[in-house]
């Protein structure tokens, strides 16, 4: 049995097991399963030699067609049941297109499963980061007011999600890819609406119809691909690609934009905030949205100069625009959400450039973004559950109550901005890549400007949050509030992953050793030494307020974002996509 079959089949089995067992047994099993999956995904890196290729037997294809039909009918039924016309229309549209696809007969056959280095990297984040989030969810879900079956179902659903994700990064068949794409949509629909209240249901529906646009785009791409290239396989399509007929590629790219919650499809990911925090964590870091850059990476070799440039500009524009929009937000998870959208834009831009350096930068960003975002979302969950805080502005002097959470949040943000962390390295390599692209095509200057401005905005955004956390005055005494081990241990594990990441980037020589070691000293070791040695004797003094005696209340700074800006940004993004399609058509 090969690793990938285990990675796909095992979580399905795990899902069944956790569904039926009691709390303690379920927890023990789930933790064991997560450890098992993590080891499998790591061993895959070391065992892996030549690309694995498999053709699935005919039985599976029929099974997949059946599943596909069921999923689409389920969407339609949901649309009818909730009287949501958008869901209904897109479901019907998909069913029609899918029937067309089934009627067409592609002749060129290839492997259904194809595992390359990129899949192996994706396995790592899906199983390790996703697994850590499941461990966290074990405790989190217990604090929700669900029935036992529903609680277990939640954990089972997360395992199912991992299985689907493991499959989607292994497949080479666009039809199977479509099925899995729809299954992730289904998972997110169920998970977002899990609480069952009005807001959850509304946002789940929003996620459903928006993601169905992606499904439509894949089906359109499939039809074009079968008509022109007579194939439903990624590798055949990419190998035979004709620079004058790129429609399949462009529509697949649009599907990626939808999954990646790129502006103007950003609403569904922001709406997903309403779900229990582990859902946001797993959607943002390990699963779902990561399909977007993965798909772009797969398509990159087939892109012409025009397509690659347009997607790069669109991606960097989204990076810039989402960072800008985030500045006006106060809800902690929403801030995280916008920064995910922004960074996904950057990942897709890098993937579209497609040079070896760009691909390395993109993968680095995918991996480290997953770790950092997971860490931050776990903290968001802790804030909600242990401190009943949702809005950044309500967090006052958290450092007095829980230095640990503050530490994790700061590490989370720092790991997205400063050296020697991976996300920084990726951003650094992104600028280098774009700089060498400018020499070939000056239009990449705009990508550079978007990137430079966007990263400045993101820094500003992260500090907006840190402002509130960090304030420590002379008099308030530290009162520790106990946080469950189930919450802190996953956070520690992610922290360890970050450190391992620094070590790996050191080994891979992504930056020179000096460039990694020096900042490591600066951000970690030297401050620690100071903290240990100094200040025991120094006298304390109260802050100087020019003689004012009034108690001061420090607030976070705000940036006013007129709604016009939001509209303009969406219009620009839509126009960009239209240009992409029209440019390829002409």
């Amino acid at each position: 049995m090969t690793t990938y079959t285990l990675l796909i089949a095992a979580p399905l089995f795990f899902a069944l097991v956790v569904m039926v067992s009691g709390v303690v047994i379920r927890n023990i099993f789930a933790i064991a399963f997560v450890i098992g999956l993590s080891f499998l995904s790591i061993s895959n890196i070391f065992v892996f030699h030549a690309p694995t290729e498999t053709i699935l037997p005919h039985f599976f294809h029929n099974l997949f067609i059946l599943l596909d039909g069921m999923v689409l009918l389920f969407f339609l039924w949901q649309g009818v049941k909730t009287k949501n016309s958008l869901v209904k229309i897109f479901a019907l549209f998909q069913i029609v297109l899918y029937v067309v696809v089934l009627l067409l007969s592609p002749t060129l056959i290839s492997n259904d499963v194809l595992i390359d280095e990129i899949s192996s990297v994706m396995y790592l984040i899906i199983n390790i980061v996703g697994g850590i989030i499941i461990v966290y969810a074990l405790k989190y879900i217990e604090s929700e007011e669900f029935s036992r079956a529903k609680k277990n179902g939640f954990i089972a659903m997360l395992f199912f999600f991992l299985s689907v994700m493991n499959f989607i990064v292994s497949t080479n068949n666009i039809e199977i890819f479509f099925l899995l794409f729809e299954l992730t949509t289904l998972c997110s629909y169920i998970l977002i609406g899990y609480r069952g209240d009005e807001m959850s249901v509304l946002n789940a529906q929003k996620a459903l119809w928006m993601n169905q646009i992606g499904g439509v785009a894949i089906l359109v791409a499939l039809i074009f691909s079968i008509l022109q290239y007579k194939t439903v396989y990624f590798d055949v399509l990419i190998a035979n690609i004709d620079a004058f007929y790129l429609l399949p590629i462009v529509f697949l790219a649009i599907a990626a934009f939808v999954k990646g919650a790129s502006i103007p499809f950003d609403k569904w990911l922001l709406g997903a905030m309403i779900a229990p925090t582990p859902v946001s964590a797993i959607l943002h870091s390990a699963t779902m949205v990561k399909i977007a850059p993965y798909l772009m990476l797969k398509l990159a070799p087939a892109m012409s100069g025009f397509v690659s440039l347009t997607i790069t500009l669109l991606g960097t524009f989204v990076f810039f625009a989402a960072s800008l929009l985030a500045l006006g937000k106060d809800y902690f998870k929403e801030i995280l959400g916008y920064s995910t959208i922004a960074l996904l834009g950057l990942m897709m831009a890098l993937a579209a450039i497609g040079t070896p350096e760009a691909i390395v930068a993109c993968l680095t960003l995918i991996v480290f973004h997953a770790i950092s975002k997971a860490l931050l979302f776990l903290q968001a969950g802790i804030l909600e559950k242990s401190f009943h805080l949702k809005y950044v502005n309500d967090i006052d002097g958290l450092i007095n109550n829980s230095p640990l959470v503050v530490f994790f949040i700061i590490v989370g943000f720092a790991s997205l901005t400063i050296p020697p962390f991976g996300a920084f390295i990726a951003k650094f390599m992104a600028i280098e890549t774009i700089a060498s692209e400018i020499i070939k095509n000056p239009l990449y200057v705009f990508a550079l400007i978007f990137l430079a401005l966007g990263s400045a905005f993101l820094t500003l955004l992260y500090f907006k949050v840190v402002t509130k956390l960090f304030v420590k005055d002379v008099e308030t005494k530290t009162v520790d509030i106990k946080i469950s081990k189930f919450y802190t241990i996953p956070s520690y594990l992610l922290l360890i992953l970050l450190v391992v990441g620094i070590y790996i980037s050191f080994e891979l020589e992504l930056l020179s050793s000096l460039e990694i070691i020096v900042p490591l000293f600066l951000v970690a070791i030297v401050p620690l030494l100071f903290a240990l040695i100094l200040f025991k004797k120094a006298d304390r003094v109260k802050e100087y307020n020019c003689g004012e005696k009034d108690d001061i209340q420090l607030n976070m700074y705000y940036f006013h974002m007129p709604s016009v800006i939001k509209k303009d940004i969406a219009i620009i993004a839509v126009v960009g996509m239209c240009i992409l399609i029209l440019g390829v058509l002409l």
Partner: protein, 274 residues
């Protein structure tokens, strides 16, 4: 060898530049001004004072700001990657900003906030300058840039943009809202005292070294041009400092970003076509 000496004495050299600048500025205003060694007299006085701290995070972050800036200067002198140096410099600013946010003081928060907004204004321009050097010299390495001919002619627009960044970093009018002298009671610096303030004070000297070393990169391997640039820009900045009034933070960002990015964009597009 000379590089190690330069790195070790960088803060002191910076102190001299700072002292000299105070003299020059005073002469421009027809004043006598302080003696050249005034920064060092200040230093000894500060070291002698009793050490007070508000909270340990604040103090550690302030010291880290100084240390990181020193590393930045060392990296430039050693000829490391320019883009990396710019980001490391951002890290040093981040330490200072965090320090400012870590105390419960309105002035400190305003100062930090302005520091952050200023970073927003100059950071993209510094990145564009680095990309400009890359396009001219084919490498981000400062060592390589120093071996090539002067690139000021082909990067003239970016040079102009850099002239706008310099006053922000050196806290000079019209772009000195980050410090704003008495207006916000020293901003980020307010809660530092005694020897700990000395670190911030020395960081300011290092900032001079950083800014002028970057300026001299425009001269490439031409040392005389480099020194000429240094003296010329030094006098120009002080003249402007004396002649202009401070503008608001909002206007600072608007002017620097819009003008700087336009200049940078024209320059880079021009380079790509030539």
């Amino acid at each position: 060898m000379i590089e190690i000496l330069l790195i070790l004495f960088a803060p002191i050299i910076g102190g001299f530049i700072y002292g000299f600048e105070r003299v020059v500025r005073a002469r421009m205003q027809n004043r006598q001004g302080p003696p050249l060694l005034q920064p060092f007299y200040d230093m000894f006085k500060l070291i002698d004072k009793q050490a007070f701290i508000v909270n340990p995070y604040h103090t550690i972050l302030g010291i880290m700001h100084f240390i990181t800036l020193w590393v930045v200067v060392a990296f430039i002198i050693m000829g490391q990657n320019l883009l990396y140096v710019i980001f490391l410099h951002l890290l040093s600013s981040i330490f200072l900003i965090l320090a400012g946010f870590s105390v419960k003081s309105i002035y400190s928060h305003i100062g930090s906030n302005r520091e952050l907004l200023a970073a927003l204004a100059y950071e993209p321009i510094l990145i564009m300058i680095a990309v400009g050097f890359f396009m001219v010299n084919g490498s981000f390495d400062i060592a390589v840039i120093r071996e090539h001919d002067a690139s000021i002619a082909s990067l003239f627009l970016l040079f102009l943009a850099y002239l706008m960044v310099m006053p922000i970093k050196l806290k000079k009018s019209p772009f000195d809202a980050t410090e704003a002298h008495q207006e916000i009671v020293g901003g980020v610096e307010i809660e530092f005292s005694g020897i700990f303030f000395e670190f911030l004070y020395m960081a300011k000297w290092l900032e001079y070294i950083f800014v002028y070393l970057l300026l001299m990169l425009f001269a490439g391997d031409n040392i005389f041009l480099g020194i000429g640039l240094f003296i010329g820009v030094f006098l120009l900045l002080n003249l402007i400092d004396n002649a202009t009034a401070r503008i608001k933070m909002k206007h600072l960002i608007k002017i620097v970003l819009s003008l700087g990015l336009t200049l940078g964009m024209c320059n880079l597009i021009g380079l790509a076509y030539v």
